[in-house]
């Protein structure tokens, strides 16, 4: 599977937290507030080379419609190399907060996989 066990736990925890206590994501929300959706659409084209635009998760997880806070938390974790996967570490590694916020805004507005 694409996600190893640690990553699954991590994802579960942040999904749980986003559902019940948005205030925990004060940092993430600050980053989202820096975002610009048009910039996110341009930057998001890089993601679309691998992440299927119909939102199909096959070897690579779908990101369309992802909750913006979760998106930011994941990208920050890849940027700091807390999450594994060298491709994502490389992609996130050169994104600043404004860019991550822009991507989070853009992808959160797309239709999630059916």
């Amino acid at each position: 599977m694409f996600f190893n066990f640690r990553m699954k736990i991590f994802l579960f925890v942040i999904l749980f937290l986003t559902s019940f206590c948005k205030f925990v994501f004060a940092e993430e929300q600050k980053i989202i507030a820096m975002g610009d959706i048009e910039f996110g659409e341009y930057l998001g084209a890089e993601c679309a080379a691998c992440h299927h635009q119909a939102g199909i998760s096959k070897g690579i997880p779908a990101i369309n419609g992802m909750d913006a806070e979760v998106f930011v938390a994941l990208m920050v974790a890849y940027r700091s190399k807390e999450m594994e996967n060298p491709v994502m570490q490389m992609i996130a590694g050169r994104l600043d907060d404004e860019q991550i916020g822009s991507l989070a805004l853009y992808f959160s507005k797309l239709d999630p996989p059916k």
């Binding site: 599977m1 694409f2 190893n4 048009e38 910039f39 659409e41 341009y42 930057l43 084209a45 890089e46 679309a48 080379a49 691998c50 992440h51 299927h52 635009q53 119909a54 199909i56 998760s57 096959k58 070897g59 690579i60 060298p86 491709v87 570490q89 490389m90 992609i91 590694g93 050169r94």
Partner: protein, 421 residues
Amino acid sequence: MSKISRRTFTGIAAASVATLSMPSISLGALPRVVVIGGGAGGATAARYIAKDSKGGVHVTLVEASKRYYTCFFSNLYLGGFRNYGSIGHNYYGLAVNRGVNVVHEWAVSVDSAAKKVNLGSGNSISYDKLVISPGIDLKYDTINGYSAEAQTHMPHAWKSGTQVQLLRNQVMNMKQGGTFVMVPPPNPYRCPPGPYERVSMIAHQFKKSNPTAKIVVLDPKNKFSKQGLFMEGWQRHYPGMIEWIDADTHGGLKNINVSKMEFETDLDTFKADAACVVPGQKAGAIAMAAGVNNGDWCPIVPASMQSQADENIYVLGDASIAKSMPKSGFSANSQAKVAANHIRGALTGSKVFDARYSNTCWSLVATNDGIKVGASYAAGSEAIDVTSKFVSKTGEDSALRKATYEESIGWYEGITTDMFS
């Protein structure tokens, strides 16, 4: 009578010209982009310009093939992991979903002063901005004895399509215990890890159907992409089957005798029962016809992918000199997005963002044993420069290698959707 009929005819002709030109009069208000080549660079550029301009730019894609077989994943077909139909795509999505005018013809020349592309049929198409993404042509004469005629006996299979299917057939029909000779191309060439993934995939097939077969690799180079990873994999999965001989050791391929299937080097003359010979490469012919090349390849402006020779022409993918960016489908797709953003900005005034590029090349060594290499890039003043990079490590556990392979399948679905939907 004849006067009347001539006048009548002229009237009808004038009326029909007026009718026919109605669409082009209304289109005349729209800026026009012509894209030559419907691969990873051209299809992506056409799609993004059409999609993001939301009807504000008239996009024409000129691509001779009605069905496009990707070069990437064609090695997986050679190894028996994919059927050939699964790597074939058409232009329905671009035409229907994105409103791209798809023209199935060859572009034969470019009149850059008049801003026109001339087609094989004798028609021409006008442009405000032109994208040239023709991929590669082969330099058969870089190998003595090899030629366009010889490719039926020793397929290069370096452009996807019939050649790849022919090579698969020759691999499957090689005599038991026979020798397969692989000649990789000299630098620079399309898909740096490709020849070595191909060796892996042919070895995988032989292991199942011809276990005493041998593969001899006569390389014009002394090192290659992901070398440590491939060599480790060959040792692990195909011990004793593959002999890779570097240029210093064999002293250079002096001649190929196609009818005898012999390869002459300083070291020895190798006799093959089947072979794959990939010669040197250059930008596709239309790039030369357009005059945007300098030698075999086309210099570009790193910030936009514009040709250094003509600001109204953009060159994408294998044909361009992207320096540290490898010639890959992923690279071409990435470059297309930068060019599309720049072209739209120039034609519609939309915001132009800084260029950013990336590439990842996945290769399959054996069942569930995937490896990858990749980098991100930014536009420097002289060239496209690496900002960071990574490569799989030797000795990785099998779960990670399996995840890498599954990731490559996800990528294939993702990028082909990003090109054609």
